[in-house]
Structure formats: C-alpha cells, structure tokens
C-alpha cells in the first residue's frame, strides 16, 4: 500500500484531510483543486472591495481526535476564540442567549428544562459519536470489522441503559417541533433551538426523518456543537491543513480542473487509472479519491457508461437540492440590533417554529418565502481583518431559498430576495441600510457554480435516513470505495455527511489503508 500514487480531486477540507492521512502512511499524494484557493466552501473570497467572507465561517463538528491526529494546532490552528452563543432576535421581547451550558433571558420553566434537554441530547450524541468516525458496515457482509461496527453500535446504545435506549429510538426520528414542544414553551426559544437541526437541509420543524440525528452529529464534535471562529477565520483552518499536508509530502496543485476520471477496461474488467485535466494533461495514479459530490463524480467525471444501470439511477435520483442562500453585506460600521448590547454570536431571525415552517412551505413549491428566516453572523467581530478598519462583514444564511425557483432566477427575482432580506434585517437593526456599502446574494444555484457542487447543497446530498450511514450516498458506494476499482469518495456526500467535520476525509483514508 505504501509508495502508491494517489490523486485527490478537490482541495476542500475533506480532500486535504484524506491527503494528509494517506501521505503520512507513505503514499505519494497529489491534491488537484480547480479553484485558485484551497478550502472549498471554507475558502475565503472577496465579495466587495476590501471585504472577504467564506461560506463556512465557523468550526463546530470536527472531532477532537481528528485535530489531535493531524496535529492541526502545531500547524497553526488556533481555536482560542470563545464559542458563539445563539441569540434569537426579537423586536420587543427580552434578549435571550443560548450556550451549551446556559440559557439566559428565558422564562423560569424553560430555563429549568434547558439543562435536562441538553443532557438528553449530549448523552445520545456521545453514544453515536464513534459512528461518525467509522466506515459503516456493508449490509449482508459477514467480515469481522463490519460485524464489530454493528455490534459496537448496538452495545453503545444498550449501554445507555434500557430506558435511555428506548427513549433514543423514540426521539431519533421525531420532528424537531415535537421534541421541543415536550421541553419548552417559549416560541422564539424553540425556533432558535431547532435551527441547528435544520439548517442546510430540506427539513422544517414539522418534518420527521433526520433533524434530531443531524443535531446529534453536529454535537459530536469539539465544543458540543457550539460554533467557534478559528483565529484567522476558516482560512486559519485551511492554512493549518495545507501546512500539515505539505509537511506530510502532499503535492498540491491549484487552478487545476479535472475533466474526467480515466477508466481503463479489458477482459479483467474496469479500473480507474488516473484523471484527465481540462488542460488535456493526463495524470496516472494507482488510485483516485474524489471529494466532489457524488453526482459530479459519477455522472460527470466517470460517466454512466462505466457504471451499473440501477446504481446510476440511484445516483441520478439523489436528493441534493440546496435550500440555503447566502447574503453578504459590506457594512461601514457595526449595526445595532434591538435589545442586544453586542451583535456577537449567531443571531437567529425566526420568531416562531411556524415562521420557519411557512418559509419552507413556500420554498418546497419553488417560491420565495414572504418572510425568510435566517442566521446572521458578523465574523469581522472575531476577525477584524475581514473588513477594512472599523468596518464589518455581515453574513446571513437565508432559508429556505429553492435551487429551482419556479419563476427562474431572473435579476428581478434576485433583487427581490435581497430586498426582502434587507428589510427583514432592518426590522431588527434599524438603520442598517445606511451602513451598507455593498452586498452579494448567493442563491443555491450560485453556490453550485461557485463551489462546483451539484445543485448547491451544503452537504452535497441531503443528509436524511434514505441517504445516511451505509446508504450514503447510496448502497454500493457507502463505504468510500465505489463500484470502480481504484476510485474512492471522500467528500460530504459520504458518511457521515457535510459540515466541516473532516470525518468523511479521514474515514475514507482509513478505509483505503485498511
């Protein structure tokens, strides 16, 4: 296995992490990044002269073990910043602030319920944590390692104790609305608490399926799901990964777009022999690992003709439409939000769970929400160099904005959405419109083009029961290996899913080395 040539498609965090682990095991690894910068969705770009931002701005789901294993701290990752509290915005009410250990500004009964709610989730998150960091077993496989994983999962859950295990099975696929109604009464608090279970997905508070599991996945990392802005912003993480990769001997090429994965075939079947670049250059390797999304990898880079028909159909049918838009504002000064001393933290504009549901209702029929719900961050508070001295960057994740807008994304519809977002922000931060020096709207279609991700889904494909665990992205490709010999996946479309956790990249590398 050592001294083999591996090509990794995509220099996002998963591609880099996979590269580091493989290179440290002695493989010769080349990372090919189509863009000019490494980091994928965590790469920073200038959206207005002097103002920069990345799509991913915070770190929350990355496990301790990965940060340690890759010595990321030694390579420059600094996570000294305090985790960001969640602050539901309110025009008239008492300001609330939510951290992993505290809830301020709520009624007494909700305040009393909060530790119980967090403890329940923390227990389940801890039980599941090891599984995000492992290859999922193959259904029907009888190999030792597959059986061990099944066994461990069963044991972990059983060790919760009978009552908790049964409770886990009860709540695991509950809609967030039902779960939160059990614990809390304050509408605004409930809306803020369901945000992290929903953001980036095709789920709303009333949707059953995956919301609780997403929350538990996100809670499994460092800081129990709280968001931290690394020193230097997400580029701080990307630089640490790049340093670690270079140190491990990884060759990195940017501005290097892969046009196709080369498949060779003879009477012994097919195997992947390398990649062809857009420039026409052919790079041969023993193995290709793709961090691109599954549709890009299989349908565009490999091609259906090299795949099985039912498998192709499953890849084609993957649910991967993005529903989050990003709005960036370049601000001449710090806006003042009603009721807040400081806009530090993750500011949630979603007065009730119904307001989230209504936004989703519009989006699922291809329409723009009348009142979009959003999460607002001013990353320049932590990282002043994102904007000129004294000025600020505001980044809003706006839900739900359909990739396939029924009317199409004509300029007037883009302008309308941006206007709606601005007027919504103005309700909570009067005067903010006077601070706006520049703005940018990235619809899911823009994200798809910007980050070369089919349909602009944060997680490459919807993290949901039908596309989860050994079913992610679909069976026959759920263990990082693919039906094509020598071709592997290592991106967000693999188990356990997206977010900057690094688990898909590390799991894939381990699977390749196993």
């Amino acid at each position: 296995m050592a001294d083999q040539e591996t090509i990794i498609i995509g220099g996002g965090h998963n591609g880099l992490i996979c590269a580091i682990v493989l290179a440290r095991a002695g493989q010769r690894v080349t990372v090919l990044e189509a863009g000019s910068n490494l980091g994928g969705m965590a790469a920073e770009r200038e959206f207005h002269p002097g103002f920069r931002s990345a799509l991913a701005q915070t770190l929350y789901a990355m496990p301790h073990s990965l940060i340690r294993e890759l010595d990321l701290t030694a390579h420059g990752l600094d996570l000294a910043n305090e985790p960001l509290p969640i602050k539901p915005l309110s025009i008239a009410g008492t300001p609330q602030s939510i951290t992993a250990s505290s809830l301020a500004g709520a009624e007494d009964d909700d305040t009393a319920a909060y530790p119980k709610y967090v403890a329940m989730l923390a227990k389940f998150a801890a039980a599941l944590a090891p599984f995000w960091e492992r290859t999922m077993p193959r259904v029907g496989a009888t190999g030792m390692s597959d059986l061990m994983t099944f066994g461990k999962l069963g044991l972990k859950l059983r060790l919760l104790g009978k009552q908790d295990m049964l409770e886990f099975f009860r709540v695991a696929t509950l809609p967030m609305r039902d779960l939160l109604d059990e614990y809390f009464s304050d509408d605004q608090l409930k809306a803020a608490l369901c945000w992290d279970a929903l953001v980036g997905s095709q789920l709303a508070p009333r949707s059953p399926n995956q919301a609780v599991l997403t929350l538990l996945n996100r809670m499994a990392g460092k800081d129990a799901g709280q968001h931290v802005v690394p020193k230097g912003g997400m580029p701080g993480l990307v630089r640490a990964l790049e340093n670690a990769a270079v140190k491990a001997g990884v060759t990195i090429r940017t501005d290097c777009t892969v046009a196709s994965v080369r498949i060779e075939g003879d009477e012994n079947g097919q195997r992947c022999i390398g990649v062809e670049l857009q420039s026409g250059e052919l790079l041969l390797s023993d193995r290709v690992v793709s961090s691109a999304d599954p549709q890009t990898t299989f349908l565009n880079l490999v091609g259906a003709r090299h795949l099985e028909i039912e498998f192709t159909n499953r890849i084609r049918r993957l649910r991967n439409k993005g529903y989050v838009a990003r709005v960036h504002l370049a601000l001449s000064g710090l806006p003042a939000f009603k009721g807040l001393d400081s806009p530090e933290g993750r500011l949630i504009i979603a007065p009730t769970m119904d307001s989230i549901e209504f936004a989703w209702d519009a989006a699922k029929y291809g329409e723009l929400p009348e009142a979009p719900v959003m999460e607002v961050l001013i990353p320049s508070l932590q990282e002043p160099n994102l904007a000129p001295q004294g000025q600020h960057v505001l980044a809003a994740n706006v839900m739900y904005v359909p990739h396939d807008l029924k009317s199409g994304w004509a300029p007037e519809h883009r302008a309308a959405l941006l206007n709606t977002v601005l007027s919504e922000l103005t309700r909570y931060a009067p005067g903010i419109q006077d601070l706006v020096l520049g703005s940018e709207l990235l619809t899911p279609q823009d994200l798809a083009a910007q980050y070369r991700t089919t349909n602009g889904h944060w997680h490459h494909c919807e993290p949901a029961i039908d596309q989860l665990l050994m079913m992610r992205p679909t069976y026959e490709a759920g263990q990082y290996a693919t039906p094509i010999s020598g071709l592997y996946l290592c991106g967000a479309g693999c188990h356990p899913a997206g977010d900057v956790s690094g688990n898909p990249g590390r799991n894939a590398a381990r699977e390749i080395l196993a």
Partner: protein
C-alpha cells in the same frame, strides 16, 4: 393501431373503449381463420392461443410451415452515435461484433446479474438498432440510456406489421413470392426486398429451432402482404399458429420462456426467485471479454463459484408429460433436487422431454420425476427415471443450411 379494436372501431360511445384489447394489423385475416375463437392476449393485443387445433398447427411448423403473429412483440429502435455503447453496456453479449444486417440473441440483467429479459438485437445500420423482446422494456431502456448524450430510444412496436414464418417449407414460400436473394440469407441475416412499392424486411430468425424467417412490413401493406404470402404458401401447407404450438416448438428447441423457465427480475417479488443467465444455461451469452456490462461483477462471481441451480434438458422414461413435477435424487422421492419448468411428449423426436431447474450438485446423480397424470378423471402418479440431454431436443440441419432446401 392503438385505436383499432375488433369491434366498435369507430364507436366512441363504447363504455369499455379503453379496456378492449387492441388487434394486430393482420387481424382481419386471422379472425377468419380462427375457427375456434381461441383468443387470449399478449401485451394488450388480442392474440390467438390457437386457430383450429394445437397439434395440427404444431405439425405444420415441423412439416410444412406456419405464421405466428409478432405484432404484439415489443420493438424498440435505438438510434444515434451512442446507440452501440448504450446497448453494449445493457446486454451481456458483445455487440461490437454485430455487423450490419445481422441479428443476435441477447440477454440483459439487473446490477446483481438477474435476468430481466432476453430478446434479439437487429443491426439495421450504423447507429441504428432494433431491439425486440416479449415484454415492455421502455422504462429499463430509458434508465439504460441515461448518461449517453446521443441516443434515442423509440417504442416502435406499432411501426411494423410482423409475422414469423417457420417450418421446412418457409423458404420455398418466400421463393415462390419472388424474393430474389432470400436464398442467400444465412441464419441471423437480414435482407430487404421490394414489396408493392414498400420494403419487406426479412430476417432469418425465429423461436422454433427450425428453418424460418421473420417478416417485417409497413403496417399499411399488412393485409396485402398477408394475401401475397398465403397465396404463395397455398401449395406449401401454410397455416397460422398460436401461442400453444409456439410453446411446443420452442421447448423442443430448448428455448426459454418467461414465466416458465424464468421470472423477469424487475417483476419478481421474492428474493432471488428470478434467475441468472448461468442458471438458465445461457452462460454463452455472457462475454466477460467486455470490460463492462450491467451485472458483470455479480455474474463473474457466480461464474467463479458456479451456479447453484442449472436449467437442464431431460429425457424422461415413459410417455406421461412431467408437467410441474418435482424432481428427486432417488426413486423413493426422499430428497428433492429440483422441479420441471416445461414438459411435453415431443411428437417430432418421439420422446418425453422436459426443461428442469436442478441443484447443480445433484446433476451427477440419479434424477427421478414424480409425475401426476389423469386417465378419464382418475388420478395416478408415477416416478420416472430422467436422463440429462446436452443437445437441443430438436435441431435439424435444415435450420442452418444456406441456401435452404426447397424440402
């Protein structure tokens, strides 16, 4: 043809209009000859089970000739620059070897190597293929075509009127019709002949294991073609035959029949109650020299391990057809090893024959069939010894001879 039904053709007040069976382009002639009104259906078409007498029709196939209406057979045109790679990925055989105006027998499988259906591919020209099969297959073809930029799949079932002309005098009939050059057609060749200003396509193919042709004509010319064919065949014993006689002839030839020898994999409910080509003794259709085709990995694994069951041709002592018999490894019927899929007394080979699915491990030992039969309403059963036959039960030299004999 969609709007053609047997009755009430123009009667929009028919309350069952959408439910009526469609009729073939040849129906106006066939209904006159269907003395017994023995109709069943195939793919939504009214279709003769037999016309007059099953045995008579069977003997026509073997001794003179008969026509079998293949209008209801599914026909798909696959066209475009990607037609070959698309089809070649779908079927297990290597179609790169197929030349213009040639036909080949193919099978196609699911990802896990289970047989979806079998059929024939006609190479009509560069980038133009015709796929025929027994059951509708458009959904699978569309799935198979996804990802190929330059391929178009069209359901052409109703674009041709087609008859299968089978039997030892079939060549003589076509010769009498004046089809110059039909003598040169080798098995699986395609020829084109002028007919009343149109073109008659003739392929030397069929489903009886005997000398025979399939005849493809513009639907507009269907009835005139029928009349010309039957006029030419009058001295050669031509007779329409139906599903029952076909089933006898194909069994003698050792050909498989859906819902007899195999379940179509996409319609099977129980796990692995469908079959693989290897289990159906069609391993010769699977070309592993091709780097990729659907089901390749699964089929390779089965080839390496050997199929657990194998479709086997049996000669059975006595003359009682072993229909639906269970097979045993001993005369006491204590150990089950398989079951009969099709069975008959074969008049042509004078033998009691059957196709049977048998545990591969049991093929080296004795095989006994427990046969239930009736004599004037009294039920009897017997246990009969079976012997394996490797060659098709019926495979006359005339089926392969070119030019064919005039009988």
């Amino acid at each position: 043809m969609t709007n053609r039904t047997d009755i009430l053709r123009n009667d929009i007040t028919d309350p069952f209009a959408g439910e009526r069976l469609k009729v073939s382009y040849f129906h106006d002639r066939e209904k006159v000859l269907n003395l017994r009104d023995a109709w069943s259906s195939w793919n939504g078409f009214k279709f003769a089970d037999y016309y007059y007498d099953v045995d008579y029709e069977y003997f026509c196939i073997r001794n003179t000739c008969g026509t079998y209406d293949i209008c209801p057979m599914q026909k798909y045109l696959v066209e475009g620059e990607d037609a070959l790679p698309m089809l070649n990925r779908m079927v297990t055989r290597d179609l790169n070897k197929l030349r213009d105006n040639r036909v080949t027998y193919v099978a196609w499988c699911t990802d896990s190597g289970r047989l979806i259906d079998d059929g024939t591919v006609f190479r009509l020209g560069d980038n133009r293929y015709l796929l025929t099969c027994g059951s509708p297959c458009l959904a699978w073809l569309r799935k198979s075509a996804f990802g190929f930029a330059n391929v178009e799949v069209t359901d052409a079932t109703e674009d041709w009127a087609a008859l299968s002309l089978q039997g030892p005098t079939s060549f003589a009939v076509l010769q009498r019709m004046g089809l110059d050059g039909v003598a040169a057609l080798k098995p699986f060749d395609i020829g084109h002949f002028p007919f009343l200003g149109g073109t008659l396509m003739v392929s030397r193919t069929g489903f009886t294991g005997d000398l025979g042709y399939e005849l493809w004509i513009d639907p507009e010319l269907a009835l005139q073609f029928w009349d010309a064919l039957y006029a030419a065949g009058a001295d050669f014993g031509i007779q329409p035959y139906g599903e029952s006689a076909t089933n006898m002839a194909r069994l003698e030839a050792g050909f498989i029949m859906p819902y007899m020898e195999f379940n179509e994999a996409l319609k099977t409910v129980n796990f692995e109650y469908d079959q693989t080509p290897f289990e159906l003794d069609l391993g010769w259709l699977v070309d592993f020299k091709k780097p990729h085709f659907n089901g390749r990995a699964a089929l390779l694994e089965q080839k390496r391990n050997g199929p657990k069951v194998l479709l086997t041709k049996l000669n059975i002592e006595g003359n009682k057809p072993a229909e639906e018999s269970i097979l045993y490894s001993d005369e006491n019927c204590s150990c089950e090893i398989g079951y009969v899929t099709s069975a008959m007394w074969s008049p042509a080979v004078k033998a009691n024959i059957a196709l049977a699915m048998i545990d591969t491990a049991a093929l080296k030992g004795e095989i006994w069939a427990e046969i239930y039969y009736q004599r004037e309403l009294r039920h009897h059963h017997k246990v009969a010894r079976c012997t394996i036959q490797s060659k098709p039960f019926w495979s006359p030299d005339r089926a392969r001879l070119t030019p064919p004999g005039l009988v």
